[in-house]
Symmetry: D3
Subunit: 163 residues, 6 copies
């Protein structure tokens, strides 16, 4: 399961410390899956509004899903040292609690390197899109965002299966 030698330390730098991509030319193709999760804290009135909208049309979450999926596919250009890998599947799931939205993004690929950065990019971007959609509801009288924050973005599970 272990992909990189712990002794390697910083795998994206050479011996002399220069930033580099990891050479994946000799790695076998594996089926890989990574699941990332994160939360966006919002005013509870905003959650109520999204919930109502979701029932009626779902536009806020639909737009966020599209943003998350596009972010997953663009990870190779957003994260400088990432390789471009063939994404075979992306699942996005939103859970609404009283004052937060939890977004889970599961990414699958068949390739030579993992897809956890893709899943993380999907989560942070998807949550940022929700934030963008509800800006007017979150701002206080001074135009500030006292409650809004993206938090607890983590990898829930990373799996690899030799083919």
């Amino acid at each position: 399961m272990r992909e990189d030698d712990p002794a390697e330390g910083l795998t994206h730098t050479t011996e002399t410390g220069d930033v580099q991509m990891v050479d994946v030319g000799d790695k076998p193709d594996s089926k890989r899956r990574a699941v990332a999760v994160g939360e966006l804290h919002l005013e509870s009135a905003t959650i109520t509004a999204i919930r109502a909208d979701e029932v009626a049309k779902g536009d806020v979450l639909s737009t966020a899903r599209v943003g998350a999926i596009q972010a997953v596919k663009h990870t190779w250009e957003t994260i400088p040292m990432c390789h471009q890998i063939p994404i075979t599947n992306i699942d996005t799931t939103f859970e609404l609690c009283e004052d937060c939205i939890e977004l889970t993004v599961a990414v699958e690929t068949t390739g030579k390197t993992g897809c956890e950065m893709e899943a993380i990019e999907g989560v942070t971007t998807g949550l940022n899109v929700v934030w963008d959609m509800v800006k007017a509801l979150e701002k206080d009288d001074d135009g500030q965002y006292p409650a809004t924050r993206v938090t607890n973005v983590r990898i829930e599970r990373k799996e690899k299966q030799r083919m």
Copy 2:
């Protein structure tokens, strides 16, 4: 200071709930500044490694700075309802604590709409780039990331100044 009418509710949807960009055609040009902050929690051994690298070459943080700056400039395509605005300045500052890195991104623009989404995108992407650079150090024996997480991403301050 207030840019949107709180009564507007979800400014990115029409009356019938369809997702739309905000019309900024009649807004005056203003000097605007937004400062976002966030943290990446890491194993303290990773922080030590980055610190040592930083002194010696700074590559991890340099790469993350470039990633953050590019993310700020690309916000109009990452966040579907954002307008493309002329970014005049971007400042990125890293603070290292014992088991976390704090990234502050300040964005300035002269235009018709705010730049807080740009600042947030800079923070989440910059922290994700750091994560990508230290993956080998953060993974446990099972290839999982027990400690790593992006957290507490917030807008510290948003300002607008009529010209």
Copy 3:
């Protein structure tokens, strides 16, 4: 109202016929608006499905709206000789008839050149996104698309107002 001299012929080529951008450096800033319209013909069963979905969740049209809006903003890279202009507003409207969807995209800009290509790109891309979303419903037993077609994409109105 006339922006280009009809005698100019092909404005994107030089005297010797080489492809070039139009020089807009000396054009004054104007408020401009262009409205493009187009239709996607579909099986009536597909329209029924979209209509039902639209009531329930609206995801097909929401995704198409996001696709159309992103296409408008990306016109400067999709159409090689287009300039990058500051888009101030984008409106997308879908009308469903018995066997077709009509998409209207209105684009507004304040700048030195018109935005009709942006509106057209919004229409063709938005309709293509709908097509992509309903592929399984449109294909016949041989995997072909006997009914599906994008048609009648035109500029409904183009306006310019000196500032």
Copy 4:
């Protein structure tokens, strides 16, 4: 030949109607080819000008070819739910009739999902590029486009061959 179960209905939504990519992880690699066709109606004087130019330099159609080819390669970002697939070949053919240009785009890939959206994107973008190149010839005295329209964009043939 049938790739999707007709019973699936809208393949890009989950049971609860949320927009999603199709999971192609277990699909075998196939050689696939899709041919799309479409027309751009123009003033016959414009066709004459393009024809003359084509003989002399071909710049209008060359630029449109480049635009079509780039659009094919960018379909995975233009159409939100498309996967990125390895395009192995793109053929573009223009036919000029008295008052229209017909563009045929054939796309080939070896992969897990079809390339018809790539072919359609090539056709609509290629025709939009021609429109952009001949704007000055098509506009009337009021700056409007009475004759110009993109029409009859369809999939001529879609093929799949197990490897």
Copy 5:
């Protein structure tokens, strides 16, 4: 005419040496023009082929022009510390000598920062596109490129005019 204080040294780094964009928020808008030139050395047989093609159809140079123009417009994402500026004009000129092609790219903008990097990006990319188009002619029996090289890429002239 001098835009940066020579004493500033490396304008893209802070006092502590961190990479940063230059703050252009307080710079006045100026009309700016930059002209870059460069050469691609080729086998003389290749030049003969291009010359013949150019008379007949011009496709190699047309494609290179499109590539150069797109590269100019994309400089803000290709060169990490560049700002996105409104390009108002791009001129591309090819000169063919016996064993080389010279490409001149002139870029104009009205804005707060110069456009010399845009002109240089146009030249190097345009010449690289020509190289790509004539690969089969330039390769020797061992698949190597003994003669091909991009050389002498320089800024011919940079101008600024207060408005």
Copy 6:
């Protein structure tokens, strides 16, 4: 070792001279490697400054490395007729001489077509990024660049290995 038939002439055009991508659908997968090299001539004072910075922080070269790596990955969109290929490795090496910087970029892929254009794009873009970072040091009192030039960009070695 020879990939294209020399008799083919311009492989990116059809018999009638229209620009086209090369059909790689029937080419076998090979391990491929291309090494490109190029130089940026600078004032020797600039080299001294970079050298000092490199020891201390390395930011100029780090940023250029990131720019070069991103350019390699983006070649399929920068060079219109290039295919998108799976890059497995990128190595960037800078050598500083008295008045120039030499950049070597080695690119590896496993696929159906070579990666020399990717290596060349990496070299020209990486050198252009260095230029951008040291603009203030290179400009003379008139704001011109008397010494700066990108030169001698060539393919050092191209290799292919059947799998």
